[in-house]
């Protein structure tokens, strides 16, 4: 099968002159769970945003399912974007509006402008919104304001919003960097679930190597805009770790995988195990 995402010699130079990506070549197969690691500033966010053209690459090509994203016109890019879900470190929900409208907005790429302005979602979209909220375990908070939810819950709303697109690829830019360890695992498990059950390809940048080892089927390490490592999580030994993160770095473990007893008992919803 051809790769779902095929990146060839990708370069991104920002207006200030920073060369954030310096010749990246990468093929991502359908069904992979690719974890991007690397020091901050190594280009992870830039790479993720080039895939759905939130950032315009300077040179090189990106094929998404055979479509050249780098040369596609606006309308074509929008059609590509709706096949790619994305979640963010800061969740990026519209904070003042309800969880429900946030989730519904994941469907905008498929709907006409007038339907958006008239606030008339189709009944199938409404049904899908509840279904996806149910999947991430917060259907009961549908009509709360988004900013009334905890961080972990907000990120799950972000996942539900992305699922509304029925995406083939899910981009995740440090999705758990603002969360505590236990909550991090609860969010990562939803990503694992949509990867395994829905066969959505996941490309996820992470700060902690322990999370990368636990969830990734493949780890790609960036260093100064170049690929410094690309392989199985288990292949990252002490020497490779120091190559990626520098001589002085120490590996840290992030939290228990399955917290028992559960430290976040106050927020029961955080503990939902999607694999159950």
């Amino acid at each position: 099968m051809p790769p779902i995402v095929s990146i060839n010699d990708l370069v991104k130079t920002y207006p200030g002159g920073t060369r954030a990506l310096d010749g990246i070549s990468l093929d991502i197969q359908r069904g992979e769970f690719v974890v991007l690691i690397g020091l901050s500033g190594s280009g992870k966010s830039t790479l993720l945003r080039c895939i759905n053209r939130l950032v315009d690459p300077t040179s090189g090509t990106i094929l998404f399912d055979g479509i050249d994203v780098t040369t596609a016109d606006r309308a074509a890019i929008r059609r590509v974007r709706r096949r790619i879900g994305m979640i963010f470190q800061q969740f990026n929900l519209v904070r003042r509006t309800s969880v429900f409208s946030n989730v519904l907005s994941g469907r905008l790429g498929y709907r006409s402008t007038w339907r958006t302005i008239a606030s008339r979602p189709t009944s199938s979209d409404v049904a899908a919104a509840f279904e996806n909220l149910g999947r991430v375990g917060i259907a009961d908070r549908a009509f709360s304001r988004a900013d009334a939810l905890s961080g972990g819950q907000q990120q799950r709303v972000g996942i539900a919003r992305a699922l509304m697109q029925k995406p083939e690829v899910m981009l995740a830019d440090e999705p758990v960097a603002s969360l505590d360890p236990a909550t991090s695992h609860s969010v990562m498990k939803y990503l694992e679930e949509i990867n395994k059950k829905d066969h959505i390809t996941v490309v996820c940048s992470l700060h902690f190597l322990s999370l990368a080892r636990r969830y990734g089927t493949r780890v790609v390490a960036l260093k100064a805009g170049q690929v410094a490592f690309d392989g199985k999580p288990a292949e990252i030994d002490e020497r490779r770790f120091k190559e990626i993160y520098g001589e002085d770095a120490e590996e840290v473990e992030i939290g228990p995988d399955r917290p028992q007893p559960q430290p976040l008992a106050a927020d029961g919803a955080e503990q939902v195990d999607p694999s159950r």
């Binding site: 963010f88 519209v94 907005s105 709907r111």
Partner: protein, 283 residues
């Protein structure tokens, strides 16, 4: 104290080096302020000779002998439109219309005055600078001055009052709106763009929900301020109940003046309360 530092070879903090009682800088400032106040007394020549206590109490008492005849037509030439309560309503609407005019002008301009929208390229950046400077100029000219200048165009009356209020208010509202737009969180815009939405959909789903409440809140706050200012406009010929107040004082009709002042106070206090209540719910 200073020895602590000198003993250790450290620089002595400024506060410890100066004695407040002998520091010539402080003494100069105090002397200058006193000098200005002395000159001020001489030049303004404030004369309170007329206002002996008895006289003051007398006059204030007159203000509370309300003359209710101004609430109904007083002779066959007057209609209900000449009554004080009608003038009060008219004055409130002066403030409302001024707010409406400034809203219509300030709303589109505020987007041009928002840095996060306009600093993309040199041309829009220049427009941004011009718009913001314009807001500042409009804001810095007092309403009463503008009304007086507008007398030359519209003559005395409500037109000068409404546009004078609006002129100043465009500057204030424009700045408040622009700052609300600048305070938008870009994250949701990025997220909605990533779903494949078009630009209008992004504005609709990610920008508007972030600015509507602040915009409504600022508009109500300015409405409150304009209704508060409107009764004063009449004093310089800008229409409304201010003229009646001015005339009744000049004609020594203190009972009428007192009643008008009371109506203004009630109106302003009500507006203030209602506006605060609404804005509290909009956070």
């Amino acid at each position: 104290m200073a020895e602590y530092f000198t003993a250790r070879g450290l620089p002595v903090p400024l506060e410890l080096r100066r004695n407040p009682l002998t520091d010539w800088r402080r003494l100069t400032v105090i002397a200058l302020v006193l000098l200005v106040l002395y000159i001020g007394l001489k030049i303004t020549n404030i004369d309170t000779g007329r206002a002996n206590p008895e006289y003051v109490i007398n006059r204030i008492a007159l203000l509370f002998k309300w003359d209710f005849s101004i609430m109904t037509p007083r002779d066959e030439f007057e209609t209900y439109m000449d009554t004080a309560w009608w003038k009060m309503i008219e004055t409130i609407f002066l403030g409302i219309m001024a707010t409406a005019f400034s809203f219509v002008v300030a709303l589109p301009l505020s987007f041009l005055g928002a840095r996060n929208i306009m600093t993309g390229n040199p041309i829009t950046a220049a427009i941004y600078a011009v718009v913001r400077v314009t807001f500042t100029i409009l804001r810095s000219i007092d309403v009463l001055i503008v009304v007086i200048v507008l007398l030359a165009i519209f003559g005395p009356g409500n037109a000068a009052g409404v546009f004078g209020l609006a002129f100043h208010n465009i500057g204030v509202m424009g700045k408040l709106y622009s700052e609300a737009i600048e305070g938008i969180d870009a994250g949701p815009l990025e997220a909605i763009t990533a779903t494949g939405a078009n630009r209008l959909q992004v504005v609709w789903a990610a920008v508007l929900p972030q600015i509507t409440n602040p915009f409504i809140s600022f508009t109500i706050y300015r409405l409150d301020a304009n209704v508060r200012l409107a009764p004063v406009l009449g004093l310089v010929g800008g229409g409304g109940i201010g003229l009646d107040l001015f005339q009744s004082i000049n004609l020594s009709q203190y009972g009428a003046a007192g009643l008008i002042i009371f109506m203004i106070v009630v109106t302003v206090a009500t507006m203030d309360f209602v506006s605060a209540q609404i804005r509290k719910r909009l956070v």
